[in-house]
């Protein structure tokens, strides 16, 4: 008989259809248990150290990264947990990134910029290499992707700013046939690009 074999890239199983359904149910109930357990822990730990936010104060460079991110997104605050994950991934995209991010933060700290566009323009003028660094930041926060990896999917800002109209793929929650209704109108934008354009290659299917 054929030896059962585990694929190196994907989990395999050879269950019957009923066993597969049962597996799913068991997975769900296990997750529910875990969530209940975590909630319980939270109750027990109320008033002590349990917090959704990591201790960002531990890394001043990360705090500077968050400040640059807030300026470039025109947002007063961003999720520090996502920021930490993006920062770590962006650093891995090249040995020069850490120093570049530091200099970008210096530029921000040393001037006054009325919005993201003004800061981005000034950055590219001071060093053309900042364009790629800013691209990394924009892709990270808006697409949830850094250094070729998905850091967050549903929480990417591109879905936050479109949530009145559309769901991220695989996360629809409007119920059957929600799509027949009229979505919101969108005015033609008036803003201008801040950076010089880059080549855009559509990735192959």
């Amino acid at each position: 008989m054929t030896k059962e074999r585990h694929c190196p890239l994907v989990d395999l199983h050879v269950s019957s259809p009923n066993a597969m359904r049962l597996n799913r149910l068991m997975r769900m109930s296990r997750r529910d248990t875990l969530m209940t357990g975590m909630a319980g822990m939270g109750v027990l730990a109320t008033g002590t150290a349990v917090s959704a936010e990591p201790a960002t104060g531990a890394d001043p460079e990360l705090e500077r990264f968050m400040k640059v991110s807030e300026r470039l997104t025109d947002r007063p605050s961003l999720d520090p947990r996502i920021g930490q994950a993006l920062y770590e991934r962006i650093l891995q995209s090249g040995p020069e990134r850490k120093a570049q991010l530091g200099r970008l933060a210096d530029l921000l700290a040393g001037g006054t910029y009325e919005d993201a566009s003004a800061f981005a323009k000034a950055a590219e003028q001071s060093d053309p290499a900042f364009k790629d660094v800013i691209h990394d930041l924009m892709s990270g926060w808006y697409r949830g992707v850094a250094n070729g990896k998905v850091v967050v999917y549903r929480s990417a800002l591109m879905f936050d700013i479109t949530k009145d109209a559309i769901y991220p793929k695989t996360y629809a929650a409007g119920g059957p046939f929600y799509w027949t209704t009229q979505p919101p109108e969108v005015d033609r934008p008036t803003g201008a690009p801040a950076l010089s354009p880059s080549k855009f290659d559509v990735e192959p299917t």
Binding site: T73, Y153, I166, G174, P183, D187
Partner: protein, 545 residues
Amino acid sequence: MSSEQNLSADVVIVGSGVAGSSIANELARAGISVIVLEAGPRVDRQHFVDNFRNLENKPSYQGPFPSTPWAEHPPNQITPNKYLHTSGPNAEAYQQVYLRMMGGTTWHWAGCAWRYLPSDFELKTRYGQGRDWALKYDDLEPFYYQAEVMMGVCGPDPKVEDLGSPRRQPYPMEALPISYAAQQFRKLISEKTPYRVVHEPQARNTKPYDGRPTCEGHNNCMPICPIGAMYNGGYSVYHAEAAGAKFVPNAVVYKIERDSANKKVTAVHYYDPDKGSHRVTGKYFVIAAHCIETAKLLLVSADEKSPNGIANSSGHVGRNMMDHTGVQVTFISGDKALWPGRGPLETNVIDNFRDGDWRGDRGAYLVHMVDDNQVDFATQLAISKGYVGKALEEQIRYLASHTVRLFSHNEALPDPDNRLTLSTTHKDALGIPHPDVYYKLPEYTVRSCEHTRGLFKNLIGLMHGTDEQWTPGYFPQDHPSGSTIMGVDPKDSVVDGHCRTHDHENLFIASSSVFSTVGTGNITLTVAALALRVADTLKKELLHA
């Protein structure tokens, strides 16, 4: 315990996709013993969903489905490719993708369940082009309906919207309500052109059906429906197993054994992932391994008795490779917001060019307005244009709500020179050669594509479109067909009208590889109907023998 003692059945099927699993289900329910040998692994849906969510390149339909070393499949549509090696003047146009997995390639189809038109089966007689099939539409009509019931197909009432393929029964489910974007597109086409937009028949639930839920519009039919509202071959696998069929994953068939007269197949041999060899005997054999892998297997099995490959006395195994070649454009509409991507991926079609007297000169085609969530595309585009901050957010909203993508399926013709052969330079981990395909687009198809480009330019104008991005050249629509072509003459075809090989009386082929022409509609429903007809033939022969 030797494998020979265990692995024997009335019918042995190679391949567990829609064709193989639906035959297995029909036969097992009739009390016939069945073994299905699947080259690839068995994986459940949630794993593919998780892979998708973690995929950086979300439009990659193959991305969530990594292949195994023993059952490689093409990683993407890029030329050159690590598995499917294409050459010739239009090599890029034949860079097909498909899956070698339990359940087959319908893990990532869009559920488009078209019947062919009666004329699609008689292209030679009616228009003097290509070939006629060795069967007529009426021969297949009952099996089309059986396939629609099996998959759960929703579609329009023919009295309201006649799609040109006569029906004896209504669709099993009512047509899917189309999205706001598709409604606007339909209105524009109706008011500003002589054409029409129809509801696409889809293997997608508009009510709970076959233990699966109603579609919730996750907009991810390709690469993976997260809730199983869309049919895929995996569901026929489950049903067949429940009825008693045996499925063996990771079983890579590499040899087809025949009797001394070379008239009947006696066994198939497969490798497990460690290259241990196993022999499986049976009374009947069905190769249902996808157009490319089916031809490859017949060629790989060549031996002294059949030096050109199994079932290949005609020399046509691997020839006549066809596809629906695509023309594609993405642009930004200057009209009101559409927000494509709310609801299923492909729901509406311009069907005016599926048939006409001009088919004597150029190929038919159909057009999809793809209802694809464009938020990620819009974000990448806006970042590349240099926007940041609030200006970037305004751009994303505008582009995501105004991006329109159109693509077509353009008809090919069978040309023996468009040919699949075994690679002489590349082999997989088991030592089995990779497939090579030479491809030159028929002029018939090129003329069809030119016509489509003209139509698309008109539509872009009607929608006050800007920022046109045309997919360069021609691209494959992943509907390969023709590699074991059907015909009445054994000298120039591989199978007869019942998909039985001319050379071996107990060997059948269930795949788009038997198509004599390729029409315009997506091929899966016709594959399923042909497969169910094979099951019907096998039941008659086995139960009344």
